[in-house]
Symmetry: C2
Subunit: 482 residues, 2 copies
């Protein structure tokens, strides 16, 4: 198996490389900034969250796909704007890449323009564009509506900062091939179900609709001011009505326009009441009223069906992904006791696959922010203790005969799905107990001359210090029940 | 949550990029050669194998770690020989990378030499070197002996061919910080346990020892001929004793040397008998005899403890990873009915972390070849049917009232962990049934006027055609039991 642990024969003959390299690596090794090593306990906690997300995706009928870590550059470039293009990690062509490099750009030392001629592949920047590419490429094999989920890492050459990494996981669930609003209803339920399962009661699922925003843009009479408008309105809690209006005017939104949307400065009540206010405000906007109708369907049904622990809220300042969402927009805020940005988001996009030539393929999806969810679950102390379960017992090693006796028992215990280990070396007993302690292993099993002679095992509870002499079956029962 | 589905406001303003790009992407999109998309059924099957490997790693006391997909180039370069250096995927520096490019190499158009000045990071080539880097970097936080497992993708710019990919998963379990041979014993058991759990009875776990090979090199009096020697000897079955001897002589191995190792041409019997033959053959080689002693300990204990379905075999031609293994060498061959290369391999290396400045850290580990194991399990038809389980039932959509009635039931069923779905659109019933069929969903639930009036559900078995009118509790029971 050359592919595993490859050190081929050709390598052997050049093994001096290895030695000469030792010198240059004298300093302690490190990893690229913005990346992370995950220790066993961190992997276990991340897996715990991923497993809950995954099992609920499946319970809701979503099926997993996986796409390659790198895509052809043309698949990714131009899909995320200029900023995105800059943040995409490009992979250098293999071999003599300069042979095909563009001469002009090379002479001009134009890095940006040269890239296309020396790099054909790039690391995935998100899961949405690869998914669109997947749907178009495999359209003849896919049964639509297609409910897919995807949990994989993505890479961005962003400036690393607290909570922002250059490699991080996205957890996405999308449905393509149906415009039914029942899917929006289900996605809200899916958020509720996952966060409830994680013990995160009281998350707020904010909902808005692109068509509502278009309607507001119509009312204020300036679609190019829509972002300025929502950004200002979003500060209502912080800077008050007068502050918001001042900011809006500074951004060139007219007095008259601000007057027209006066109800938004006092936008309170139940979702149903809010929707009624919007239907008055947007009465003259055909698109706005379509948004009201969609919101009403989704919110009414979610309310009727009920949520376990999440709160649904209508937030007209929610404008995420404005340039590609066409209907519902979602964002999830953590429980109010935690100070943290959103832990999930998504929405409907009517033409996701159009960029790859497949028209009229409506989609709607949501995403879970693994890293932030991790921090929230950690902060609220909601990881179950069992998440980091190590071995149940460490067999103490007193030498070859005892170790063999132990290994026979270990083999049987593992056959009964009990995690147990032998300390590999016949070293000081104190050191072995210390090892169990540091690893968080709750029991030690001691096998001395006496135990071997009587075919027993001494089981020691490392928390209470209690010791029991047991035959194999009792040992097994004790470990199973502990 | 900017990090999820990022389409920032700045992007919005440049959304024309998206449109202009539509032209260039008119042809059907594709993925880079040597990479793969995994469909839902393929992901499910891969996950099935990974889950079995993972749970047994944990049962044997191994703990998971994860390392970043890319490492600093200096961590990887020079560790896999010149060939390896060529096959490592390099990541182009972000921003104006040409500004820092080496002028001389740029002028000379020397791609190989230029790389270091325009690329600081590279994709992981295997899991072993990153693990060594991890151990050295986190040595103060690690409790040794450290049993870690790691299941992550690696990347190689190899020429793609059947069964060889540019992105593939490695599944490694290693112990560092102990020289105890009990670990070799356990690793053989781990192979046996995993392959037994996969239903792959009759794999052959081949074992050899680097010290045996050194002993043979001493006996033939030419360590530089050792590879030629083992390669030729490995052909014994194919070209016979005379053929092998001819090849050896052609490679410059003397008649006299060949005569000395004559027993290897008739190397049969039980492992124990083979070891006895070796102990005669290598009697004058101190290192060879150390190898014999190690082999004997491992094989005797494995034999005494017993294997479930695997066969342990001593193969003196096994020379994989010769330049860094220092003790045991393992390789696993699939059941004899399948024609395929090795599906696992590993061994002991006494100085893995030395390259990063941490001396005397002995390690031993094994690897599972996921892609090949997948092919073998597929060929032998050993994937359980449940592996691809989709939803249990599809609720047929007859319009808004019925859909709401269905959604209430769906919510309750999901609370009981039953996977069910509503067909999202109120479309032709035949099309909905077809959807269930294509998705492999075994039941349909029909909710018409009559059912709503009587508070019942019509459950249709899509295989037998049988229909039952049931109240909610009976529906739930039927789906739970089916």
């Amino acid at each position: 198996m050359q592919r595993i642990r490859i050190w081929s024969f050709s390598t052997l003959l050049k093994s001096k490389n290895l030695k000469s390299n030792t010198h240059t690596m004298a300093s302690k090794p490190s990893i690229p900034k913005g990346t992370r090593d995950f220790s066993p306990i961190e992997v276990a906690k991340r897996q715990y969250i991923i497993q809950i997300i995954k099992s609920n995706f499946e319970k809701f009928g979503f099926q997993p796909i996986e796409t390659p870590s790198f895509e052809n550059s043309e698949t990714l470039m131009g899909k995320y704007g200029e900023e995105g293009d800059r943040l995409i990690f490009k992979i250098l062509n293999s071999g003599d890449y300069l042979a095909k490099a563009n001469e002009t750009h090379l002479e001009n030392k134009d890095s940006t323009k040269l890239t296309a001629s020396i790099s054909e592949k790039a690391l995935r920047y998100d899961l949405t564009v690869p998914f669109a590419r997947y749907v178009v490429q495999h359209q003849n094999d896919i049964e639509f509506p297609f409910k897919r989920y995807q949990i994989q890492p993505v890479w961005r050459a962003d400036r690393p900062q607290k909570g922002r990494f250059r490699e991080f996981f996205q957890c996405d669930a999308d449905v393509v091939g149906s415009k039914s609003l029942w899917q929006e209803v289900e996605l809200v339920q899916l958020y509720d179900t996952v966060f409830t399962a994680l013990g995160l009661a009281g998350v707020t699922i904010k909902i808005n609709n692109r068509k509502i925003l278009s309607g507001i843009a119509e009312v204020i009479g300036a679609s190019d001011k829509l972002i300025d408008f929502t950004v200002a309105l979003d500060k209502l809690d912080k800077i008050g009505e007068d502050g918001v209006k001042k900011e809006m005017m500074e951004k060139g939104i007219s007095d008259e326009a601000i007057l027209k949307v006066q109800p938004l400065f006092n936008f309170t009540g139940t979702i149903s009441e809010k929707i009624n206010q919007l239907s008055v405000l947007l009465a003259d906007s055909q698109e706005g009223m379509k948004g009201v109708e969609e919101l009403r369907f989704i919110c009414d049904n979610v309310t009727e069906l009920g949520l376990s622990t999440a709160i649904l809220d209508l937030d007209v300042t929610l404008a995420r992904g404005l340039n590609y969402y066409t209907g519902a927009i979602f964002e999830v805020a953590p429980p109010k006791s935690v100070s943290m940005g959103s832990i999930g988001g998504g929405g409907r996009y009517d033409d996701l696959t159009g960029i790859f030539g497949l028209k009229n393929m409506s989609g709607v999806g949501i995403s879970f922010g693994l890293d932030r969810i991790y921090l929230v679950v950690e902060e609220l102390n909601l990881f179950p203790e069992t998440v980091t379960a190590t071995s149940k017992a460490l067999f103490i090693n007193y030498g070859e005969a005892g170790a063999f006796y132990a290994m026979k028992a270990i083999k049987e215990l593992r056959n009964s799905n009990i995690k147990v280990e032998l300390y590999p070396d016949n070293t000081k007993v104190a050191k072995q107990f210390q090892h169990a302690d540091k690893r968080g292993i709750p029991f030690a099993v001691i096998v001395g001359e006496q135990e071997m002679a009587s075919n027993t095992f001494l089981l020691k509870n490392l928390v209470t210090g209690e010791q029991l002499s047991l035959d194999f079956e009792s040992l097994k029962q004790s470990l199973l029940e502990s």
